[in-house]
Subunit: 365 residues, 2 copies
């Protein structure tokens, strides 16, 4: 004996369904659905009546039902692997908030970039969850197996700061080259000439781009990039320490060090201070990323701030908005977005010893 809940209001305790709303509003469930999905073709008066009942009953459409019946799951996936803590925090906050604003939810999955069956892991997750889109963070955004698995499953994705920007893939990033160029220009404008650079690992996108920016700025100012002032690193603190020991043992020491990321810059800072150097007066140091630790040391680090939160919000929008009509781009070309970074000038950089004032400081105002 099955008791259908089409009688009277509804069974107490259980959450209200679209049927309950339809009955109380005196319309069909289809009309309720139309109102909830902002579909056109509902009389204003009807719409208001439905909305009132929805509010009264505190009706919330169940995600699983919408997902099963319709084409959308209202789920956005965030895939990451061993990211810097700062990265996760920012990306996650931006993505989660933007999702909520749009009635979506953020599902995060932690993967091992080197797992042999990573494509199967992705396939498994995607076919169970059916997310409407996926956000890939480094280094997963450069993992061909992951991207192929997603493409096979016809799941749209956005790459955050990918190594290579392809016209076939949507991506969000900052202009690393330009940012590194600006940092270098800052050092040069302070009067530095012997500027060392600590590189990141060769297999990471950012490494090459940041070095390129450094080199470009140096050459543009007629400064040479000496091989002995370019030190290898791998984005870790210890590699920054090691690089500093090398650099500071040169016959002519650099007056400034630009490390391709903050962790290494912090290593340089620690090493320099241990060697008795005063930062920034004896040695200026600049990093990249504006990690939380950059502001938790003395002197706080001059660095580049990537707008993690904004980048994540943008990524979510690129996955959600295409469903709506209000975007101009009529062709289905995937988009590449470049967001503005911010140069954070703090106390780890100043003019080199014996150099009175910044060289170029003719304000144009």
């Amino acid at each position: 004996m099955v008791i259908k809940n089409t009688a009277v209001s509804s069974r107490a305790g259980a959450a209200p369904t679209i049927v309950d709303v339809a009955e109380q509003a005196g319309v069909s469930i289809k009309t309720v659905s139309r109102v909830l999905n902002h579909e056109p073709g509902v009389q204003e008066k009807t719409r208001e009546r439905v909305l009132k009942v929805v509010a009264d009953l505190k009706y919330r459409p169940k995600l699983s039902a919408r997902s099963l019946a319709g084409a959308r799951s209202f789920l956005i996936g965030l895939l990451y692997y061993d990211p810097s803590a700062a990265f996760v925090a920012g990306v996650q906050k931006g993505a989660a908030l933007r999702c909520r604003e749009a009635g979506y939810h953020l599902v995060v999955e932690s993967l091992h970039n080197d797992a042999l069956d990573i494509d199967q892991q992705v396939e498994r997750m995607v076919s169970a969850l059916r997310p409407d889109g996926m956000i890939l963070t480094p280094p997963l955004c450069d993992n061909a197996k992951v991207i192929k698995a997603l493409s096979d499953a016809q799941t749209p994705c956005v790459l955050m700061s990918p190594r290579v920007v392809s016209p076939d893939e949507r991506s969000v990033r900052i202009d690393d080259v330009h940012a590194a160029e600006e940092v270098t220009n800052l050092l040069i404008s302070l009067g530095h000439q012997r500027i060392a650079f600590v590189q990141g690992p060769a297999d990471q996108a950012a490494s090459g781009l940041r070095y390129e920016g450094f080199e470009r700025a140096m050459l543009a100012h007629g400064l040479s990039v000496e091989a002995e002032l370019v030190q290898a690193g791998d984005f870790t603190f210890p590699s920054g320490v090691a690089a500093a020991h090398q650099l500071l043992s040169r016959r002519v020491k650099p007056t400034a060090v630009f490390a391709a990321n903050d962790d290494m810059a912090l290593g340089v800072l620690a090493a320099a201070q241990r060697l008795g150097l005063s930062v920034p007066t004896d040695l200026s140091i600049a990093g990249f990323d504006d990690s939380p630790a950059a502001n938790l040391v003395w002197p706080p680090l001059t660095t580049v701030c990537q707008p993690m939160e904004a980048m994540a919000r943008t990524a979510v929008e690129m996955l959600i908005l295409p469903n709506r009509v209000d975007n101009e781009t009529s062709d289905s070309a995937p988009q590449q977005r470049v967001l503005p970074y911010q140069l954070q000038v703090r106390n780890s950089t100043c003019a080199p010893r014996g150099h009175a004032a910044p060289a170029i400081k003719s304000k144009k105002a």
Copy 2:
């Protein structure tokens, strides 16, 4: 004209459903369901046949369908608000990995702890998503409105490091008092007597507990806790800097400072070094949390490592495992779990100047 996909194999392109599996295996969908859910009462031979077809077809049950039909959603929610980056990263990794192992998925939501309608935000999210459980991190785990909203929605939750441990709520934490006691004991055993303490904000759980541990250890060793050596702080770097300036201006300076968290300890470190003190020889410094930055400075910080990942895994298990039969606790009493922390002794602590060797070092072995 509706084309049912009960013909032949299945329509090409579309993902296989339970019906496809049932047909190819020559059983009913109910049997397939039994096999997939590890229900008893399926002949071994039948089970194997079904499993083979599942593998061949790469069949993955769709979450939305399972969720709509059944009592479980296979979704675990993680609620957080502005946590330290290190916290998010660890918690998230542990929770996401444990979820995947169990066929669950982790949905994260970022909330504003001070939002007036936070209970409605939670209610909204829970009634749409229907997660099988929820993990609350500080300070949300101490937010009565959030807890009530969850309880009203009959969504089980686990509190991570809550301020108050209630028998009505499941929780996972470490023993803050004991950990702080051990840090203090370490300093005392090195020979320190004038040990300063930098407190956390009064409204945070950990603050009081850590101070309690500090005080307990001091008193146990017959050392007095002088009011002028206990400085207020708010868990931020600047408050650590400020506290250090106060403490180091006392008539008799402390030889060691124990800060209730790492960010403040880093502030103390930065301030001490700026004042020309050598750490640890002039001043020993200890923190709490083992934040990433603790290892990104020189000297690296002696601190307490909370097993974030393990705590998160445990939290997930406490939400998932009750569904199974294999846990001993027959009564439905919520559980409180206390996990082991780890003392990280690094280079920011040593014996005070003029003190040859650690005072108490009679090894009991």
